[in-house]
């Protein structure tokens, strides 16, 4: 099969993008690291001088560290919008704790007698700090910088969710597109980057005092140089800016189609669908790859463009079910088909709107719809057998999953188990293939292009 394209071939084919993403990734890592150093080092020193402040400062940095990274990025969007700014801010907050804490611990660990001797010999406060405290705390502080660097390389992959680029674009694109090579093309360089940077910094950490002195002057220069790898995309604001999901970027019924069929060549950034609509509403983006049924189209008053050249196949929501399950429970197929043809785009949009904007629970929404359609039945007497339903992580899937669950319980009496936390097409499909779930709602277009994978499309935009 064409699918057997090797990882190496993929990386070669995508070398431009790979290089660009790697440089962006290094840039993001170091910009935030430099800022964290500029603030963390003085703050760490300050709290050794003003002990009562140590608790609150370390506490604050510790709390920042415990916020899940994707949530932290989410908090950043209302404050800083999308793009590199919130990504750098979030990475900076993550890098802060190891730097402050190790500076503090390192200086506190210096033998008080040695400090007293330094003072007794007539050193000024600054000389004691530079020649004694920081010199002796150096290995501990470097350990903190190494930790911060590795954290930043790792968390930096999430920058791809908010249009800041980096190696996460491949990783999340690959997950969404069911493309293992693409995932690895992002994940392997990210891992190597973390190992390499950690190793280089470990060399500096172990350096003797004298060689270190010359290296220390080079470090800020080098850090700034590495930071400059990230070219801030300012100055483009007059032109159209499109935000597409990682999945959309790599599909022929997506960015590739837009470029080849429509000749649409606009600047694009990769962004998570969770924040995409809001970003468009807040005028951070001009064009987005929305779902035509998403409730937020209505919430944010967004306009759906017509696809007059038909690059998008129809996206009908349809249950994808394991064949053996359909055979085992022969009643299942007809029951699921009761929903067929009842949910068109405008119905789905309305349902999504209820959940996303009016904050109805997906369960209530699904039930109301079934009642209105005259399909709702109280659960039938329990029979032997369980159907496991998976869903991707967004409201429409939750609603559909609930509908399936209700009709299955109402008409067949089979038990239903829902697994509603599957991150993307690839994860759902893998789960289905490996018998972890029995069915999940999928869209005809996606099933056709991403899962069944027609002869490989040259994903390099032509």
């Amino acid at each position: 099969m064409e699918q057997a394209q090797s990882l190496w071939q993929f990386m070669q084919q995508q070398s431009d993008k790979l290089l660009q993403q790697t440089l962006q990734h290094i840039g993001l890592t170091f910009i935030s690291l430099v800022i964290a150093l500029l603030i963390g080092l003085p703050l760490g020193i300050y709290i050794t001088r003003h002990k009562p402040a140590a608790g609150p400062v370390l506490g604050f940095a510790g709390v920042m560290q415990t916020i899940p990274s994707i949530a932290l990025l989410g908090f950043m969007i209302p404050l800083l919008g999308i793009g590199p700014l919130p990504a750098i801010a979030a990475l900076f907050l993550y890098a802060l704790l190891p730097i402050i804490r190790n500076t503090y611990t390192g200086i506190e660990g210096v033998d008080p007698l040695v400090k007293e001797a330094a003072v007794a010999m007539g050193m000024t406060r600054m000389q004691v700090l530079l020649k004694v405290e920081l010199a002796l705390a150096f290995p501990v502080i470097m350990a903190g910088i190494r930790t911060a660097t590795v954290i930043n390389v790792g968390v930096g992959t999430l920058a791809a969710y908010i249009a800041a680029g980096g190696l996460g674009e491949f990783i999340f694109g690959g997950i969404a597109l069911n493309n293992t090579n693409m995932i690895l093309a992002g994940a392997i360089p990210a891992a190597l980057l973390a190992i390499l940077l950690d190793f280089l910094l470990s060399l500096v950490q172990k350096m003797g005092r004298r060689r270190r002195l010359s290296t220390l002057w080079a470090m800020p220069v080098l850090f700034l140089l590495l930071s400059s790898f990230y070219v801030l995309p300012f100055g483009y604001s007059t032109r159209l800016l499109a935000g597409f999901t990682p999945e959309f970027m790599g599909r022929s019924d997506g960015d590739i189609g837009l470029r080849t069929v429509y000749g649409l060549k606009i600047r694009t950034v990769v962004i998570s669908d969770a924040v995409m609509y809001k970003a468009a509403y807040e005028k951070k983006l001009d064009v987005i790859s929305g779902y035509s049924t998403d409730g937020r189209l209505k919430t944010y008053d967004l306009v759906v463009l017509e696809d007059d050249k038909k690059i998008f196949p129809p996206y009908y929501a349809a249950p994808v079910v394991r064949k053996e399950v359909l055979e085992r429970y022969s009643e299942l197929g007809p029951v699921l088909n009761k929903l067929a043809g009842r949910i068109d785009d405008s119905v789905m949009t309305e349902l999504n709107y209820k959940v996303e904007h009016l904050n109805q629970s997906p369960e209530k929404c699904a039930r109301d719809f079934l009642v209105q359609q005259g399909l709702y039945r109280e659960p039938a007497p329990v029979k032997e057998g369980v159907v496991r339903i998976g869903s991707k992580i967004f409201p429409e899937q939750y609603i559909l999953t609930n509908m399936y669950a209700m009709v299955i319980r109402g008409y067949t009496g089979l038990q239903v188990e829902t697994k509603s936390g599957l991150g993307g097409t690839k994860i759902c499909f893998e789960a289905l293939q490996h018998d972890r779930i029995d069915m999940y709602p999928e869209y005809t277009g996606t099933a056709l292009l991403a899962i069944l994978q027609p002869p490989a499309v040259d994903t390099k935009a032509g």
């Binding site: 007698l113 007293e116 003072v119 007794a120 010999m121 007539g122 050193m123 000389q127 005092r209």
Partner: protein, 267 residues
């Protein structure tokens, strides 16, 4: 000359040093003697402003030390610590050169001074490139002394300089210390709790208790003319060795007094 006037240091409710006054003549060795917690180290640290007093004044060569930059003051006062306080990240040569470098001496002069101090303190020259932890305790203490002497300060403060050494090492370091010509001209204030050491090294001794000086004077004054019972009791355990060490056989008055003392004690 060091003149301490009515110096007091309180830490909260606790009075560590209580209205103490004394004078150290140029070239004199003064020992501050007392049990731990008597305030002797606090008193010593006030002379180079490692600790600031609550009240009182200190003069060195007539200048009030509180009118000077503490850093400038300290560069002219050598300080020897009980546990050396050597910089673990500096070589022996760098440790000795700290104060000369702060004073901006040129490299050649520092080199020459370092090498000559190593010789005087009987330390092999190859140790210059070693780190402190590679040396034995006695060698480290010698380096600590060399570091204090490096810039040839007129005043030397020593805080239990032999306190951390085993008896044999202590005897040998002490011997070098006594034979060191450089020390003869220095004004030295030395803190110890060791009575023998006080008698060996001190021209004069201040015996301290509870932050106050109980009695100050030459060793034999404290021994034979104690002003209080505390002083007599303090030396009682080691009286014989101490008397033997201070009595000049030609000093008949003292000899007779010592003889009387033992006779009375025998009764």
């Amino acid at each position: 000359m060091i003149k301490v006037e009515n110096i007091t240091k309180t830490f909260g409710e606790f009075t560590a040093v209580d209205h103490v006054s004394f004078t150290v003549q140029e070239g004199e060795n003064l020992v501050l003697l007392g049990r731990s917690g008597c305030g002797k180290t606090t008193l010593l640290k006030m002379i180079n402003r490692l600790i600031e007093p609550s009240s009182g004044e200190i003069y060195i060569d007539g200048d009030n030390i509180y009118n000077r930059q503490p850093e400038e003051l300290r560069k002219k006062i050598g300080y020897v610590f009980q546990n050396t306080g050597l910089f673990p990240h500096y070589t022996i040569a760098e440790n000795i050169a700290i104060v000369p470098r702060l004073l901006g001496w040129d490299k050649q002069k520092i080199r020459w001074r370092t090498v000559s101090l190593m010789e005087k303190l009987h330390l092999p020259g190859e140790y210059l490139s070693y780190y402190p932890q590679q040396l034995s305790g006695g060698q480290q203490q010698r380096v600590g002394l060399a570091r204090a002497l490096a810039a040839d300060p007129p005043v030397l403060l020593m805080d239990e300089p032999f306190g951390a050494l085993d008896p044999i090492t202590r005897a040998s370091v002490k011997k070098d210390f006594r034979q060191l010509d450089e020390l003869k001209s220095k004004t030295i204030v030395l803190v110890t709790h060791d009575v023998q050491e006080a008698f060996e090294l001190g021209h004069r001794i201040c015996l301290m208790d509870k932050g106050m000086i109980v009695q100050a004077g030459r060793p034999e004054d404290l021994l034979f003319r104690p002003t209080e019972d505390y002083v007599r009791d303090f030396f009682e355990d080691q009286r014989f060795q101490l008397e033997a060490s201070v009595i000049d056989p030609k000093d008949y008055d003292t000899l007779i007094r010592a003889f009387d003392h033992f006779k009375n004690k025998g009764k």
